[in-house]
Subunit: 386 residues, 2 copies
Amino acid sequence: MSVTAPAGFEASGIRAGIKSSGSPDLALVVNRGPSNAAAAVFTSNRCKANPILWSEQVITDGRVSAVVLNSGGANCYTGSFGFQTTHATAEAVGEAVEVSAGDVIVCSTGLIGVGDQAFRDAVVGGVPLAAAALRADGGADAAIAIMTTDTKPKEAVHTSPEGWTIGGMAKGAGMLAPGLATMLVVLTTDADLASDALDRALRAATRVTFDRLDSDGCMSTNDTVTLLASAASGVVPDEADFTRALTELCRDLALQLQADAEGASHDIAIEVVNAASEDEAVEAGRAVSRSNLFKAAVFGNDPNWGRVLAALGTTAARFDPYAVDVSMNGVMICRTGEPYESRDLVDLTPRAVHVLIDLKAGDATATIFTNDLTHDYVHENSAYAS
Amino acid sequence: MSVTAPAGFEASGIRAGIKSSGSPDLALVVNRGPSNAAAAVFTSNRCKANPILWSEQVITDGRVSAVVLNSGGANCYTGSFGFQTTHATAEAVGEAVEVSAGDVIVCSTGLIGVGDQAFRDAVVGGVPLAAAALRADGGADAAIAIMTTDTKPKEAVHTSPEGWTIGGMAKGAGMLAPGLATMLVVLTTDADLASDALDRALRAATRVTFDRLDSDGCMSTNDTVTLLASAASGVVPDEADFTRALTELCRDLALQLQADAEGASHDIAIEVVNAASEDEAVEAGRAVSRSNLFKAAVFGNDPNWGRVLAALGTTAARFDPYAVDVSMNGVMICRTGEPYESRDLVDLTPRAVHVLIDLKAGDATATIFTNDLTHDYVHENSAYAS
């Protein structure tokens, strides 16, 4: 169900012929109201795709009636022709579902530089088909149509005892590193919240979920997370309750993205504790998550804590380099900067790896989610364009 | 010859039993003067190995009489015992070659966390053997003894028509990313220069050579580049001439390191032109050199310029994202932010890859040297500790 779990939403996912494989490649999510309050966050990459340039304008008034998403081409670095394609896509959606084109968020994913006439024809031509396929239980179809190298759709639903629901879908398998957002995500709710409250809740949720997922250190040009509220439940939730539920749902989707990251054989949680500040905990965890040597060692089930410390040492986080403790999967292999328990005790054969880093510099904490660096990652990403 | 090419130097490389393989693992370079002026630069990693902590003190007076280097163990994160090992190693060298221990630079390379009693016994016990093996043509032996995963020794010699010579040796195959220096390097000269002139020349040379090599984005805890001057030629060189020659020699060694980087199948030069400042050119080039997606694409001979732009967009360098040109191996595949010449024209089958990025934001330029991301890189680095 995902995005159609809350009342007031319809969705579809169809084959528009964008992908040469013939797989579903166009998704549409429509908010039938009564409210169309919304919030969105976008990649902080300065090289932004055309749909980002468009959608950043759409969200300025806090109103979104529909989100259209295509896989099979990023429409990024395709010039003014590409921007016109995005505009034409929004116009087509506006016409097909009788909303203003200025209230239509457009998302694209696929190869950068793809956005020619054939792409435009397929996307714009597909919109009426997607509109005709809209269904109150179409969420699952939409979640499938946004997949690229994803091996499975990612969906989540949360229902509150007070009578409101949040649903969500996500795609992303590579180029998973955060700027502000970090993949294509559509979140829907039938709760009654104004756009400023939605914006606060969305930024609070993404900051500690999608923004803490750093699969391969590469930031996308197309990332968009949109939150749509229909108010169809008639319930005005407590904002803190809503934010908490939204955060949990985003964490669920983020972990689904991590679990399906291209070529990965381990899901690694890097937990930094006792940092001087939360930002420094994030910086320290992210430095480790971006060490190719550390990630290759985990692939080989090698608890190479020296590579953890070498990465920590490149940061500006406050800590005494010779006071740090490092544990892997429950075994403290480095204590106050010296070898401690035997590395032979560390079992890295499970897919889940927990790295615990105690900086002993304060009381802030953060966890970064990443993956190992594998033969399959190299293979999938060397063959992506072909 | 390398470090023994200039007059006034002796060197050796022997089997001290540090490596279980029985390969040569201890090198010694001695400056017989008449001068012992010197300069050194070290990793900027805050997690520093014990030899770094020692050698930073040694260099403060600008005098170095000997450099002792071991492979087979980094003596990093080995606590006060490890520091005492470094100290004992310097004392042993001082006694064996009749110099002050306080004038002995110590360098170690290998696995972090390795530095136990057996390591100490092997290193300290090996010093008298290394001293006994010193020869005026021992440079080649020394260059072999510092190898770890290097497949070949790295040496270079420059002889000036004015009668002075510079020699150098280097090791490094992984964890090749710059802080200040980026590997173990010993440079020798028989020119007569004071330590402050040597320091200026060394920093100028490393800034545009070793500091621009970024094979895998990972910064070592042990990197040291030492420059020793014996004055044995009796010639006082022009400082600018000397700096120019030293820079060329460092570039030669840096490119040898790039060509032997673990698992690499391409040597990539990322040339950023027309940047607003040299620092921004370096930042832009380094961002591309650290994109795993870009590096995996090069491995697959795929001219994926979208990944170049996605990496550029994460930097703070001043440029208009939609005005950038990108060429690969002479073919401009992206012009003012749009697809231009066909990617099919780009031939990435040669080992040498040239990426030219025109930011159109100023007149500064910089080139970063990196490698592709390959199956063999992952394999070598997942199996390193075993």
